[in-house]
Amino acid sequence: MMRLRAFFLLPAWAFTLLLFLAPMGIIVVYSLQTKGVYGGVGEPWTFENYVRLFDPLYGVILLRSFAMAGAATFGCLVLAFPLALYISRSGTRKTLLLNLVMLPFWTSFLVRTYAWMFLLRDTGLINSMLFGMGLINEPLPLLYNDGAVVVGLIYGYLPFAVLPLYSNLERLDKGLLEAAADLGAKPWEAMLHVVLPLTAPGMRAAGVLVFIPSLGAYLTPDLLGGGKSMMIGNLVQNQFTSARDWPFGSALSLGLMAVVMLLLWALLRRDGEEML
């Protein structure tokens, strides 16, 4: 008799296989083929699409994507560390404060991005207010640039940085800080030499958890960057729609996936699996 657990796994496995793994396989196949005259995909088989990833024409977009994801990650860590530190020392209010961090997360990502368009656009709130106060005569170009995209990414993924840092700081032995103080360390010295090194695993986890979705972002650069601040995700979408170059779009997707997997692998190898 076949064990029951096999049947339990069967539907989940079927969905994963047919609608996730098989599609990824098709992308692998497409990435090795050539774009047809009418936008289809066919033979000959080639590595040309992967070679094109290093074309300077696209290199600019790839480099910018890494720079923007890096900036967003840095911003999230800088914002999240003091916040996580404060929450971990808040006693009974911990749950409330954590829930307040997570609250925007439960609302639509699209709406959260739109909220920033509402603030930043030429006729948006910030420009209207500055104009009303007579500080500017022409609207400041706040929307549709790299800065707007980075702010949107930080806003979108900040909770991903707060949670791992919080759980790291929460487990920190308070006695170590007391020991540092007893031995004459000033609070900032204890922070720099005791707390920061001990939160390195939390920092790494937070960094990877923000960097991965930022690098693969599509909606944020699309809405806040306009056409001017494209990232890899937008380039992929572009290849599958207007450019109709599915093989190159597939190669781009797999390149992005490779970076994601490499980062995750490095994190898991270093800090173990129990943290995920």
Binding site: P11, W13, P23, I27, F109, A115, F118, T123, G132, L256
Partner: protein, 252 residues
């Protein structure tokens, strides 16, 4: 530092919440522009009378409810199966979709559907959207239910088996009741990720399956539109109510 930290923390909470509060506040503005002119419900009226919007909302609700039910059932059974026999290859490939950029999942599914349509008499529409939604929300269900199962004691089921229960009875009468809060939380998460999704949905949707996020996206792209603020406010309140109700149900 002691005094600066609370100020810094307040500033971050403001950064997180003020943009959304402002958006909600201005949905009650009588002016189309971002200057406050007085309280009004015109944008809610406009929203209420928008037929395309109502249709998209209905589509979104149907998709979210169907895919939540299927994903919760499939994901819970899958998590149980993985708990019984953990295979890293299996669990790894099931969790992989959580870290895959949505745009990649979307185009890969689109490519697959297009390929399958050569052999099946189908087209992009509600079915493809629901299939896509089940697949990505199932991974969230697996994650949440698995977390709950890790704290469970396998000895309980073994005791049930020793006392003569069948495997199915042990699952149905011992483990499943214990998992209820986890399943409820997983279903709530599945519902919100499905109701909210734009990127994957827009790629695999057809003419008959425009969803609320797709309409919102189109409106946001077109320029300032207070109706978007009104819809956003309704979504906040709706999801907020859903969370409160589900917390109540879990406690009851």
């Amino acid at each position: 530092m002691k005094r600066l930290l609370p100020l810094y923390v307040i500033a971050i909470y403001a950064f997180l919440h003020v943009p959304l509060l402002i958006l909600c506040g201005f949905s009650f503005n009588s002016s189309k522009f971002t200057v406050w002119e007085g309280f009004s419900l015109v944008w809610y009226e406009a929203m209420w009378n928008d037929g395309a919007l109502a249709e998209a909302t209905l589509n979104s609700l149907v998709i979210a409810v169907v895919s939540t039910v299927v994903a919760t059932a499939v994901g819970t059974l899958g998590a149980y199966g993985l708990w019984k026999k953990n295979s890293r290859l299996l669990s790894g490939s099931m969790y992989l979709s959580l870290v895959t950029p949505e745009i990649i999942t979307g185009i890969a599914m689109l490519a697959t559907f297009q390929w399958a349509f050569r052999y099946l008499h189908l087209q992009l529409g509600m079915t493809t959207v629901i299939l896509a939604h089940v697949t990505f929300s199932m991974a969230y269900v697996l994650l949440v239910v698995m977390a709950r199962l890790r704290t469970a004691d396998p000895a309980l089921e073994e005791a049930a088996l020793d006392l003569g229960a069948t495997e199915w009875q042990a699952f149905r009468l011992v483990t499943l009741p214990m998992l209820k809060p986890g399943i409820a939380a997983a279903a709530l998460l599945a519902f919100t990720v499905s109701f909210d999704d734009y990127v994957i949905t827009a790629l695999v949707a057809g003419v008959d399956s425009e969803t609320l996020p797709m309409v919102l996206y189109a409106m946001a792209r077109r320029g300032a539109n207070p109706v978007v603020s009104a819809i956003s406010t309704v979504i906040f309140v709706g999801l907020g109510l859903l969370i409160v109700v589900s917390e109540r149900l879990q406690k009851a």
